[in-house]
């Protein structure tokens, strides 16, 4: 079965430190990759996405993620975090080889809670 693994359920860091949130997926077939962020008591917001082209994608608030096909990974990084980055982060994968309506389904990881401490 296709699966998405987020290796860390919680990541505590200090403000201005770098952070990496890891995401691996189960199959190396053609994929679309996404990171979503969820702030407390809110819905999920799309943070960044990889569909094609450059393997390094960036968000407007300083996060970046790199698609690594050989390692089936899509890790999220930020060189210097802020208190306001405290949230839960979800990695999601769309496997392009699925047929019909299931072609538009996303499989989510279980999430990583990033806590930024002063």
């Amino acid at each position: 079965a296709q699966s998405v693994t987020q290796l860390d359920s919680q990541v505590p860091v200090f403000e201005e430190a770098p952070v990496e949130l890891r995401c691996n997926y189960s199959s190396s077939v053609s994929v679309y990759l996404f990171w979503y962020v969820q702030y407390p008591n809110q819905g999920l917001q799309l943070l960044l996405k990889y569909l094609s082209g450059s393997t390094l994608v960036k968000s407007i608030n300083g996060f970046e993620a790199e698609f690594n096909k050989s390692q089936t990974s899509f890790h999220l990084r930020k060189p210097s975090v802020h208190i306001s980055d405290t949230a839960e982060y979800f990695c999601a994968v769309n496997w392009r080889g699925n047929s019909g309506g299931s072609n538009y389904k996303l499989t989510f990881g279980k999430g990583t809670l990033l806590t930024v401490n002063p």
Binding site: Q42, L46, K49, G100, Y104, L106
Partner: protein, 111 residues
């Protein structure tokens, strides 16, 4: 922000009662989804729709049914609510770009 609303936002109900949650979109997107979010499980797909009256099951569909009679509305029904269905429910929409846009969620408590 994508125009997605969910109603009600909070609901407390008793075991055995029927419950219907509504998702409404103003984006005219073709695909709509219902997820539940539980600690330690992330988001799990309940049902999805790929057009009016076209729906299919997700990975946790037992005990849930859905209906979509109009493009803009996707209803999730718990025919007889159980305590295991206490959760936060999210609706999402997508078009051909594949990324999904999420509603604000409904917190359901079954006592």
């Amino acid at each position: 922000d994508a125009g997605i609303t969910q109603s009600p936002r909070h609901k407390v109900t008793e075991t055995g009662t029927p419950v219907t949650l509504r998702c409404h979109q103003t984006e005219n997107h073709r695909y709509m989804y219902w997820y539940r979010q539980d600690p330690g499980h992330g988001l799990r797909l309940i049902h999805y729709s790929y057009g009016v009256k076209d729906t299919d099951k997700g990975e946790v569909s037992d005990g849930y049914s859905v209906s979509r009679s109009k493009t803009e509305d996707f209803l999730l029904t718990l025919e007889s609510a159980t305590s295991s269905q206490t959760s936060v429910y999210f609706c999402a929409i997508s078009e051909r770009s594949y990324e999904q846009y999420f509603g604000p969620g409904t917190r359901l408590t079954v006592t």
